[in-house]
């Protein structure tokens, strides 16, 4: 049956056919035809953000918990530019997004029309791919392709810019294209698998190094099997946390700038590094020439451009990590590797992770552990960016993939609250905790109103040190204690501000029983803000000074 539909209606229908059920965004002049078509959809629910960056991060939250591409909408000009940070963040963390932006009509492109900006040009470096639609007919190809690209191989954000006249153009449609699906993963070549297995079997002091790619490819179970079969002490990147339960005997937790000392020291001694879905980010490796100086490297990644980018691999395998690890398992000899595990244990004992004041819920680690004690592994843990993020990465018992949502590569303050709302939209039955700081939350505080409107089951834990904590820390340690532009001399009453936005709030500072206050907030359904003051002079320790080798850690 032939239907006559506009570009806007085609776009909405293609999104429905793609299985999209929740979209975030903000309307504006150049995208109103799509919003009008969306108003007629009974299958897609639109969540109105209060800033396009919030809409972008909500979509990220949905994508991060589900692993499926999520969609956000914005209008032309400032709507599109406000999305860019969320797109860049998704690019660096390999998160599948499809962003749809309105554009001025084709005839007005290039005239400096009202709210015209070169969205296509601006989004080139921050997306995996982008499109400027030139006809309604072309949308039938572009939109399924955008989903295919976003979800294939190494995932990433795709932007589709649609001029208003293309949205209004009506065409006859007799047949719909198939929804865009990820490309099949490449077959695993047996040669490199045998080489990698031989290296693992011959290694005396191997370490498994898991990155975000393990989460994206659903390889956590296989990685755990490999670690146990070959007795491999295992480190995780910030993006890889949750791949292995952090309390597993083989887990050495997060590596790099804020790792436990024993973790970086074990890496310093390893003779084989098995990097899986990790990209040797500078926050993980420290001074890269001094990273794992004795180790041969096996590097497995879906993105061939990551192999040999930072560190040359003895064996580089471009492939889906779940498939490669599965192929590797039968070739890897079960080994107790007693001497190396004992050595790692002695490093753990001599250079332990020091988590101070765990019994005091008004200290940073105490608060994190108190919240963990209120929750089980079903909870989702989101963070913003800063000291609180590193403390949570160090102290929260993360135990499952997709439990942990954090802005790793771009390190975007303002990520946490909207990402947590997105996670709650995608998985409404779960409790979503968003650890944030007073600097970070102010960067997207307007989304508290969205959380109230959506009754999102989020618990915003605000660790307030009236500072930009990591800046303060670097100034204190590396800039002669010249604290400049990193203290806030004025601050809102955050609990009052939350209440003004329609969110319940509890302030732990003067609470007669902080633990009970926390438990009430976490157990009550719906959005809450939990405020706790933190000492601005607390540091994230240990720390590798920027540019130093990972073994040169300062602090305990």
């Amino acid at each position: 049956m032939t239907e006559t539909l506009t570009g806007a209606q085609i776009t909405v229908r293609l999104l429905e056919r793609q299985g999209i059920r929740t979209i975030t965004g903000i309307p504006g002049g150049a995208i109103l035809p799509i919003y009008d078509a969306l108003s007629a959809s009974s299958r897609i629910r639109h969540v109105l953000a209060r800033h396009e960056q919030g809409a972008g991060f909500m979509a990220q939250g949905m994508a991060r918990v589900s692993g499926q591409p999520a969609v956000c909408l914005a209008s032309s000009g400032p709507g599109a530019t406000n999305l860019l940070t969320a797109l860049a963040d998704a690019k660096l963390d390999s998160i599948p997004l499809v962003a749809i932006t309105g554009q001025v009509p084709r005839a007005m492109i290039g005239t400096d029309a009202f709210q015209e900006v070169d969205t296509y040009g601006l989004s080139v470096p921050v997306t995996k791919h982008n499109f400027l639609a030139s006809s309604a007919d072309e949308l039938l190809e572009i939109i399924p392709r955008a989903f295919r690209i976003a979800a294939s191989g190494r995932p990433g954000p795709v932007l589709v810019d649609i001029p208003k006249d293309v949205q209004n153009q009506a065409i006859d449609i007799a047949e719909w294209p198939a929804p865009g699906c990820p490309d099949p993963v490449p077959a695993v070549a047996p040669g490199p698998i045998a080489e990698a297995a031989a290296l693992i079997n011959a290694a005396a002091r191997p370490i498994l190094y898991l990155g975000g790619g393990v989460i994206h490819s659903g390889a956590a179970g296989t990685a755990l099997q490999l670690a146990e079969q070959a007795s491999l002490p295992t480190v995780m990147t910030l993006m890889g946390l949750g791949a292995l339960p952090v309390d597993h005997p083989l887990s050495l937790g997060m590596l790099g700038m804020h790792a436990a000392r024993y973790t970086n020291l074990a890496l310093d001694e390893c003779d084989l590094l098995i990097a899986v879905g990790a990209r040797f980010d500078d926050r993980a490796t420290g001074k890269v020439t001094h990273f794992c100086p004795q180790a041969k490297v096996i590097h497995i990644d879906i993105d061939p451009a990551e192999l040999d980018k930072i560190k040359t691999a003895r064996v580089g395998i471009a492939g889906d990590v779940a498939k490669v690890l599965a192929a590797l398992l039968p070739a890897v000899r079960p080994t107790p590797r007693t001497a190396w595990l004992e050595r790692v244990e002695s490093l753990k004992a001599r250079f332990p992770r020091r988590l101070t004041h765990l019994d005091n819920p008004l200290s940073h680690f105490g608060l994190i552990r108190c919240i963990a004690a209120c929750l089980d592994d079903q909870a989702i843990i989101a963070t913003d960016v800063g000291q609180h993020q590193m403390w949570v990465a160090q102290a929260y018992p993360l135990r499952r993939p997709r439990q942990w949502l954090t802005s790793g590569g771009l390190g975007t303050m303002g990520f946490g609250l909207p990402a947590a709302i997105g996670a709650a939209l995608a998985e409404p039955e779960r409790t979503v905790v968003c650890f944030t700081g007073d600097g970070s939350i102010l960067m997207n505080i307007q989304e508290l109103i969205t959380a109230a409107e959506e009754k999102a089951n989020i618990k915003v834990v605000l660790m307030d040190n009236a500072s930009l904590g990591l800046v303060h820390q670097q100034q204190a340690l590396f800039y002669g204690k010249r604290i400049y532009a990193s203290r806030f001399h004025a601050a809102p009453d955050f609990a009052g501000l939350a209440r003004a936005c329609g969110i319940k709030a509890v302030d732990l500072d003067h609470h007669p029983n902080p633990c009970a206050g926390l438990l009430d907030a976490i157990n009550a359904r719906g959005p809450w803000l939990i405020h706790a003051s933190i000492d601005a002079n607390e540091m994230v320790y240990p720390m590798v000074p920027p540019g130093a080798a990972n073994r040169e850690m300062i602090g305990h």
Partner: protein, 103 residues
């Protein structure tokens, strides 16, 4: 490019890349953007449609330094890039153009 310049070019170690791409308005910005945002200078660019016009071929004259292999891998990841071939600096494509670039 006079004779001295050509010797200088060879001394600087150039490479020539031959890139087959889909032909649409955004392709050039995707390709050259990869170079510019890595502060990697592109010394020469040629681009013409090939076949029926659905595809184009881009020729780039670039400095050969340690980052080139990584750049080629990034180029190969672009959606609109089909193939990338690498040639030495003595490839004829830019040499024959020299007449058009005399001062």
């Amino acid at each position: 490019m006079n004779a001295t310049n050509r010797n200088e070019i060879l001394a600087l170690r150039r490479a020539i890349l031959e890139i087959d791409v889909n032909n649409h308005p955004g392709v050039m910005s995707h390709v050259v953007g990869l170079f510019s945002r890595r502060a990697f200078n592109v010394e020469g660019i040629l681009c013409m449609p090939v076949g029926g016009g659905s595809h184009s071929r881009i020729w780039l004259l670039v400095n050969e330094d340690g980052r080139l292999a990584q750049l080629i891998r990034q180029l190969e990841k672009l959606e609109d890039v089909q193939t990338v071939r690498r040639h030495g600096a003595n490839h004829a494509v830019f040499e024959r153009l020299e007449d058009f670039f005399k001062a």
